[in-house]
Each structure stands twice: as structure tokens, then as C-alpha cells.
Symmetry: C2
Subunit: 394 residues, 2 copies
DNA sequence: ATAATTTGTTTTCGCGTACAACATATAGAA
DNA sequence: TTCTATATGTTGTACGCGAAAACAAATTAT
């Protein structure tokens, strides 16, 4: 039996975390009194906790503004910029290394675009390690709280092993073994699924700061299609951390065979590779080229987009029926063609989602961040600090 | 902002709940020292909390057993039988009223079988109310902690309204309005979806006592098919409480039209109505009759079952890919034909579930309880007591 | 009988939040 | 300028709760 009794120190840890998260969650800097009002704690209690968090380098005080209202001017509190996390990402078309601070700002980054399909893990991760060292060099005395790596595949985060990344051609390997200690700043490397981590950046625009949507389905369009379901601000990872494989939901049992061994998977209609092939474009064609073809009335392009939208509608309707999540965020190449997909997609959803008569579904593109997985990986580490700042304060 | 600061009383509430849940969770009666060992709390703390819970009527002490080991004999602790909850259920083929105590035992029950398709809400709920009063009469001085009603449809539990129950022919009504105060023991009536509540009885075999499975997909086979996803012992209810509509996942976009307006819904292949019709049986045929036909080599029955298993495989594979839940529990008529479905169902799942190569899926029937929704509704109320026993103790 | 062992209770202590009073710093009015 | 109102931040005391240790109780083994 795991649930442990709460001690008095638990109380402190819990409230310390609450104060830190409240400050991080607020778009505008809060004062001690503001935190007290939002948490229903007394000013005295908040004051002591804030003092500890400031001393511990988790929060920082700003100069009081020149113009204030009546009463003693408040001291604005903000997340400290002295805590940073390293986010790495390997994708089929790029490598990325990022340093993100507790305010959610990208302190340093390095992205290299390249075709990495079928690449060698050792040399690729070696290259990523060099990029990482360079980025870490720009840390300027900030404390590194952790490092994470986003991968486009099935990951066993407990054991730190990548089980399968079909788009890279990688299987059953331990990425940390190919990254030396210096490349991850001496911290243990946590690995995660790219779509899960990208979805996290939508759910949290900065560490501890919730985004506009708390419940949504995120689709990451790449060569294939990854996905994640976010419920109440939390990414649903499932029993083993393999949840969100929307790309392999069956859209049509009589459809084309998929790499995974099944038939009619969503990926075979709306994955980038399938989509550009169906539109008669070169494998490395961009979404902009596809849009151009559509504008010029190309019938193959039209059919390809309609088919993708149709397939997305069927798959997502199933997911919405099962999860009751009324918002969809499209990332990767799907984000760039959201408006092309919308009409057919919405039609399918209206028809097939049981609750469509009571609640309207929203569909929107993710922001255009080229490497959201890296940011998500870094945010995950920073969020861990907010979940238990006592470790950093005492 | 909702998250409230933790006070010292929060600590007490939390630990009080932990003690109560620990006692309830244990299959064999625990002593104070046993609770202390499992919760990592000290014996002194546990002792004080247990005393309060016993005084408050949440827990009870048993007589020490005659035969013990060395040392002072322990006082066995059990959930009190003095707290009961009322669980009601309306289904297409029966009405049920149950009284369940904190030990998870059915203290009193009354089930009436009838064809309720297209029945009148007022008279049906009036009839249920009469059954409820009779069952409440057998309470024998126990305290009623709450009442719940399980319904086969889409429910807005916040507002207490049933939005749609296609199998009953009900829509947009407030069940509590048709049940007088006496019929619900003077407590507010909470309504819930039948499949969600039935799934709860699998996740918790008694209030606070986890079942064998903590993560599973529950399918409730009736005229249609309801469902629920349980993650980490909790039923996923979704943004509005409408999650789990597996019955309307699209299995084949070119399939037969469904009542819901879509096409090729799982329900059209594996729902009871669809299944018996495809097998050439009368609408009220039992699963046993279907099995009999199969044994005698009837080809229509064979095709019908194969088709149902095929459809279940496609729909469930999608759900498993999205949720990463490696266990499936079949209830209602599907539970009774689990073994007939298993071969084809397992084959589809092996083929279409992405993680099938690493984890084996389990498929099993639910226990044969005729009205699991009623038990689940009662358990929900009892679990609320365990979540905050401080309310009942102080 | 005596020792050993385990359970349950009691007492004292420390920690952390609540509460109230007070100090601090501004805006606005007399 | 001076006084008042208002809001923020700090200080000191009180209270509640869990921790730890000592003690009492009830049984088995020697």
C-alpha cells in the first residue's frame, strides 16, 4: 500500500508548492497579499513561505512600480529566472536543444534541420549532445534543474528506453547512453513522447501557468501522426505511458495497410507522407505547396485534403465520444493546413459525435513553434520543481 | 483560482480519510497497529484517529479473536455497517433499488424485470420510488448517507438532468422531480450514467476497497452499448461527464446507419438488438439461446457473433491505442458471451493495437450482478463519506 | 513464575498555520 | 502641511496536530 500519511512537513511542502504555483500561474506579477487572497491563506503564512521561496531562488522580487494606488505599495513577485531546464528533441526533420527558465522564456536554443529518417542513433545523439553543450554554455550561472528528451515514438520513461521510433528507424535503445554527462549538465535525462510533451506546452504556456485550454486532444502531424489527450490540464499518459496513439486508430477496416500491421489507420490518410503522396507532391513538399495546389484547383490535392479531413473526422469523433473532450489542437503539418481541413472535419464531427447537439467542438492550430517537444521536455522538469519546491528551498 | 491553502485541519481530514480508506481497503480486518504500518503513521496518531472514527460511527471494533499470536491481541477494525446508501437504477429491462452498507454488502434490494422501452417517465419513476421506500424500510436504524440513480443515457450530473436516454425513449427531464423526498430518504439524489457506475463496481468491489483491476475499459452491453474508461481506479468522466460512449465509435464508415445519425457505430454490430437480429433470433432472445444456436452450427448466429467480435476489436483497438489501457471488462449481454467473442476479438486486438507486442491485453466478463449500476450509485455516495469522514465524525 | 513480544495509550515536544496587533507606505482630504 | 483612509508586510502568541518515547496491557514461550 503506497498512500502515506500526511505529516506536518507535508503541509508545508504542499503550501510552499501552492504559493510557487500561484505566482507562476498569474499572468501579472502578484504581491504577497495577492497570493494570500487567491489561496485563502493568511498574509502572515504567505509572507513566510514567500520569504523562503525567494531565499531558495525559486521566486524573485521586483522593484515596486512608481505609480500605485492607495496603501502601501506591493512588492511584485515573479518566478525566478535563475532556474533553467534543458529540453532536447529528435524529430524526423530536425534536432533541437533548448534552455527554458522558470518564467517560460527560452534562454538559449539551437535547432538544426535535416532529414533524419533512418539515421544512426549514435552519431545523431552525439550531434545533439554537441548542440546541447553549446546551449548549456549560455546558461550564465543559472541552476539547471533537469533535462528531458522528446522522441517521436513509444517510450518507456521509467526505464529510460526508447522502444520504437518508426519514423527514425530506431528501436529498443537507451538514448542516455549516447549522451555524455556533460551534454545533460550532470542531471539524469528523462525521455518522453514528443506529442505528449508538445501537448504540455499547450496546456501550460509557461511552467505552472495554464494555457487557454484545459481539456483538449492534441495531434502532432509529422511523417506519421502522434497524439495526446489532456484532461484537466494533465496529459493522460496511460498505464505504460503509451496513450495518445491516435495515428493508429482505424478509420476504415478496408483501408490501406499501415506500417504497424493494421489497416486503414488514420496515419494512412492524414500523415504528412500519405497526404503529400496522395496529392501528387514530392515527399518533402511543404504544407504551403499543398495549399498552393488547392488554390489552383488541382483535383488530386483537393481529394487528398478531403480524404485527410474525412479520416480525421472519423478518428477524432471516436476519441471525442470516448473521452468527452470538446477541443482539438492540431500541431505539425496539420496545424498549417487547419483551415483547409476544417469544413470537412467539422462536418464529420457534427455527424458522428454524440454530444455535438449540446456542445460545439473547437478546432484550432497550435502555435508555430518548430520544436514544441523540446520546450515541453524542459517545462516538465521545471514543473517538477514547482510540485515540490521544498527540495530546493531547504 | 480554486486551489485552497492547506490548513492543519486539512491535515487531520486527510489522515482521517486515509485511515478510513485503509481499513476499508483491507480484505481482512486490520488492527490500529496494522493501519499504522500501512500508512507509515505512528501508532499513537492512528489510535487517536481510529477512536474518533469509531465514535463517529464510520468504523467499528470487533471482538478480539480467541486464537492469536504472541503479544497483546489486536482489536480488529472494520467499516461500520451503520452507514448505508441507496442505489437506484432504471434500465431498458429492469428497475432496481438497493441499500448498500459501508462494508459493501447489499443490505436490502428489490429488482423488477419489465420491458421499459418507451415507458412513461412519471409512472416508471413513481414505481421505482415505491420500490425505494420499501427497501428503505429495511434500513433498521442505519444512517442513510446519500442516494444515487443510474440511468442508461447522457446525464448532466451537475444540474441533475437526464439529457437523453434513447433506449428508454426519455429526453431532457429531471428524475428527482418524479421521486418524492421520502423515496430518497430526504437526501439529494445524484444521477449518473449506468456504465460509469457499473464500472465503478469493478474498480471498487466495496467502498474504498480496490478491485483486481485499476485500469480497464468497461463495456455495458444492453440494447445499445455503453462504456466507461477507468484510469488508476478512477472513472474518467470527461469534461461534461459524457465520456465512455464506446458504442458510437465508428467501426466502418460504410456501415449501417445508427440511431445517433452516424454510420457504422459499434452498437450496430455488437449491441444486443443488432446482434440477435443478425443472428435471426427474436428481439428478446437471451445470450444463452444465442450460444445454443452457435453450438448447433447455425451459420447466421456464427456470422453475427463473428461480426460483433470483429467490430468490438476495431473499436476497442482504437480506444486502447488512445488510452493505453490493457484490460477490457465486458458487462451485460457481452459478459455472457465473452468466450464466444474472445477468439476473433483477440485476433483483431493483436493486429491493431500498437503496443500488443509488448503487453498482452486481458479480456474478461464482469460478474453476473443484474443491476451493477444501482450498486455503483450507492458506492459513489459511500465513497464520498470515506473521502471526508471528518464531516461525519465531528 | 518470568521473560519476550506485540498492541494500544499517554505524555511531552516541535512544527506550522491562524489570528490579532502593529509597523509601513501611499493617496486623498481638510 | 497634517490628518485620515487604505492596503501591504511583519511580529508575536495561541492552538491544533503529528512525532517520539515511555508506559500499560494482554498474550505466548520458556
Amino acid at each position: 500500500m503506497e498512500p502515506l500519511g500526511a505529516r506536518q512537513s507535508t503541509l508545508r511542502e504542499s503550501n510552499l508548492s501552492l504559493v510557487a504555483r500561484t505566482v507562476c500561474a498569474s499572468p501579472a506579477p502578484l504581491s504577497r497579499a495577492g497570493v494570500a487572497a487567491r489561496t485563502s491563506m493568511t498574509r502572515s503564512t504567505v509572507s513566510r513561505l514567500v520569504d523562503d521561496l525567494v531565499a531558495g531562488g525559486v521566486l524573485a522580487e521586483l522593484e515596486p512600480p512608481a505609480v500605485t494606488g492607495p496603501g502601501r505599495p506591493a512588492i511584485p513577485l515573479v518566478p525566478s529566472s535563475g532556474l533553467v531546464a534543458l529540453g532536447l528533441q529528435v524529430n524526423a526533420s530536425y534536432l533541437a536543444a533548448r534552455l527554458v527558465d522558470l518564467r517560460g522564456r527560452v534562454v538559449a536554443e539551437h535547432v538544426e534541420y535535416d532529414d533524419l529518417v533512418g539515421c544512426d542513433p549514435r552519431s545523431t545523439l552525439g550531434r545533439l549532445g554537441a548542440m546541447s553543450k553549446q546551449v548549456l554554455g549560455q546558461a550564465q550561472g543559472a541552476r539547471l534543474v533537469g533535462a528531458g528528451l522528446a522522441l517521436p515514438g513509444i517510450v518507456s520513461s521509467g526505464s529510460g528506453r526508447l522502444l520504437l521510433a518508426p519514423n527514425l528507424g530506431w528501436s529498443d535503445l537507451e538514448p542516455a547512453a549516447f549522451l555524455d554527462d556533460e551534454a545533460v549538465g550532470g542531471t539524469p535525462l528523462r525521455i518522453g513522447n514528443e506529442a505528449d510533451l508538445a501537448a504540455r506546452t499547450v496546456a501550460q504556456v509557461a511552467p505552472g501557468r495554464p494555457g487557454r485550454l484545459a481539456d483538449f486532444i492534441y495531434l502532432s502531424g509529422e511523417i506519421g501522426i502522434g497524439g495526446a489527450a489532456v484532461v484537466d490540464g494533465q496529459v493522460m499518459s496511460g498505464r505504460h505511458g503509451w496513450a495518445g496513439e491516435v495515428g493508429h486508430v482505424c478509420v476504415d477496416p478496408d483501408g490501406p495497410p499501415c506500417r504497424c500491421g493494421s489497416t486503414g489507420c488514420l496515419e494512412q490518410y492524414a500523415g504528412r507522407q500519405a497526404l503529400v503522396a496522395a496529392a501528387g507532391l514530392a515527399p518533402d513538399a511543404t504544407p504551403a505547396e499543398l495549399a498552393e495546389r488547392l488554390r489552383s484547383g488541382d483535383s488530386r490535392a483537393k481529394t487528398a485534403v478531403a480524404s485527410a479531413a474525412w479520416a480525421l473526422g472519423i478518428a477524432l469523433a471516436g476519441v471525442v465520444n470516448v473521452l468527452d473532450i470538446p477541443a482539438i489542437v492540431l500541431g505539425g503539418h496539420l496545424g498549417q493546413i487547419t483551415e483547409l481541413l476544417r469544413p470537412d472535419l467539422e462536418q464529420q464531427l457534427r455527424r458522428r459525435v454524440l454530444s455535438a447537439r449540446w456542445v460545439a467542438l473547437t478546432i484550432e492550430p497550435a502555435d508555430g513553434d518548430p520544436a514544441p517537444g523540446a520546450t515541453g521536455a524542459a517545462q516538465l522538469e521545471l514543473t517538477a520543481v514547482l510540485a515540490n519546491p521544498a527540495k530546493w528551498v531547504d
